[in-house]
Amino acid sequence: MAKKKKSDRVLLSGNEALAYGAYEAGLGVACAYPGTPSTEILETLAGFKEIDAQWSVNEKVAYEVALGAAVSGVRSLFACKHVGLNVAMDPLMTSSYTGVNAGFVIVVADDPGMHSSQNEQDTRWVAIYSKMPLLEPSSPAEAKEYIQEAFRISERFDTPVMVRMTTRVSHTKEDVALGERQVPPRPAFERNAPKYVMVPGHAYQRHIFVEKRLGKLKALAERTKFNRIEPGDGKIGFITSSVTYQYLKDVYPDASYLKLGMSYPFCDDKIKAFAKTVKKLFVVEELDPFLEEHIKTLGVKFTAKDPSFRIGELTPESMPDIVAGRAKREKKVAKRPPRLCAGCPHWASFAALKKMDAFVAGDIGCYTLACLPPTSALHSCLCMGAGVTWHEGLRKGAPDKKIVGVVGDSTFVHSGVTGLINAAYNQTKGVILILDNSTTAMTGGQQHPGTGLTIRNEPTRQLILEDLCRACGADNVDVVDPMDVKAFAAILEKRINEDALSVIVSRHPCRLLKRQV
């Protein structure tokens, strides 16, 4: 890329830089469901009028819409956090077979250290599992460059491409050079049943294609400049990727590096060649032994981090310990824990639940924080939608106990609604509380179908939750303001003692919504 003038440089987070890169690459359609640390990708893209950006109701939907757009001939992007990718795994696995038409890129943001997530899964394994190429930028400037390469690879090899971010790449800011938007010529939109209809006969042929493609991608991994050897003094060498590269460069500026920007398929020849140039070789990566386990199979001798470092985020301080082969020293730092905001309507809902002494099956959202003291009134949290389905499951073994399922408004639309249909269909009794604060609060207040506004705050068709719940088959649907303490407690008490499936929509807007106006 041509060198830009200083005046063209702006301070961008990894998510913003990636969005600008995609914009410049001629991106046409972008879909996501909000989730930290990935949210700002779509928020930034929505600022470009040339891009059709949407908050989808969940990741599976987002993935399928974006992939469909790519097949129609426009470059498209799907973004999510690591746990969101699990929701989209069904279409993802088969999209590796169908391939794309115009470029299609999956951006997934992992959260090592679980700053705001329920687990710290290492999404790189999905690349092996789905046989897709994987790019790993280590900084915002690289995120911008890599997303553009991702579209090129996608089109050239007819494959979805995964770009894996982590919290420290997504939420780091760097000075980044901006460029012009260039929309590539659109490929034709054609019917092609053997490619897009994945019945067993067609899929068999496509699996042959996928295996051949993997071979070609492997050749690309060997020659791409994204897998870069930086010769050093030769005494020690590091094979590394993502932000870990940046930490190492600070601590060991004179060492030799094989910096993997395209970490799957593995560039075996390059790895073996690099290993020969250094006296002592280290493989340093965050979370799982993804590179480690493969490099072992090449017969290359190296030292890896102590397994204790597979847990949590790496930091520049960890580097000397890793090189010395030491175990992780767990630091106990008393950080101020997050809690529900002052004046949050969820306080009122949980006060009523606490008084009732019910087991509360929780879900993903601000209200998950109600598990902490002084509230301590939420007793499970697994994944999106599980507040509704755990309620059903818990009741199977404990039909006489007071059990209430809670779920947020955005989460209910995401994946609570199928659980409610299931509960009604299977004649489950009990109370589901939809904590409706009229926004996706945990990720910073995004719109969803229930708010009646789009990602650009434009009015759209509004989903009426109470109508939807009735249609799902709930026996009773009440809408109550939790701030009306007496009325709320009365309804809760009444419904919990009935032999019916009841939904109580606990509706009061988020405290932070007012501040945004």
């Binding site: 640390p37 420290r168 800011k173 760097e174 000075d175 930490y247 809690r339």
Partner: protein, 161 residues
């Protein structure tokens, strides 16, 4: 330009403008021609949790995170967070938290604490006043730029050696 990398740790609790303060410094450093890395974790910030932002700038910067004992400056907006964040400061580093009381006295609106304290820090950094002004114009909405410039310059006076 020297090869020195400047490392500043900003800290406080949600709602204090910790990220905004590091944002002003980041843009000012950008306008002064430096390479910048700035790290922050959001998601929980609005909910009163600890907020921390790391800023590093120089000719070439790799890690966006500052190691313990690696910060030249600590800019902390809440006393309770100071003991925890003090670990970032290098021997001989400057703890701007010492100016907290003085700045709080000097400002009318508690919301401008962040800009004021950045002003106090500003004379200690190799960045021209023009770059700071431009950064404030970039970071704040037009309606509150003038007010923030004023508060910044007041802090800058306090910080002058």
């Amino acid at each position: 330009m020297k090869d020195t990398v400047y490392s500043i740790t900003f800290g406080g609790i949600g709602g204090q403008g910790v990220l905004k303060a590091s944002e002003i410094c980041g843009w000012a450093a950008l306008y002064a021609g430096y390479h910048i890395k700035k790290s922050e974790v959001h998601g929980m910030a609005q909910r009163g949790g600890s907020v921390e932002s790391h800023l590093r700038f120089g000719k070439r910067v790799y890690s966006p995170l500052i190691v313990a004992g690696g910060a030249d400056f600590l800019v902390c907006f809440h006393r309770d967070e100071q003991p925890r964040l003090k670990a970032f400061l290098k021997t001989g580093g400057t703890d701007m938290t010492d100016f907290l009381d003085k700045v709080q006295e000097a400002i009318d609106d508690p919301r401008s604490l962040n800009t004021a304290l950045v002003g106090v820090l500003s004379p200690k950094l190799p960045i021209d006043e023009g770059c700071w002004m431009k950064a404030i114009e970039t970071v704040f909405k037009p309606a509150i730029v003038a007010e923030n410039k004023k508060v910044f310059l007041m802090g800058r006076e306090i910080g002058r050696p």
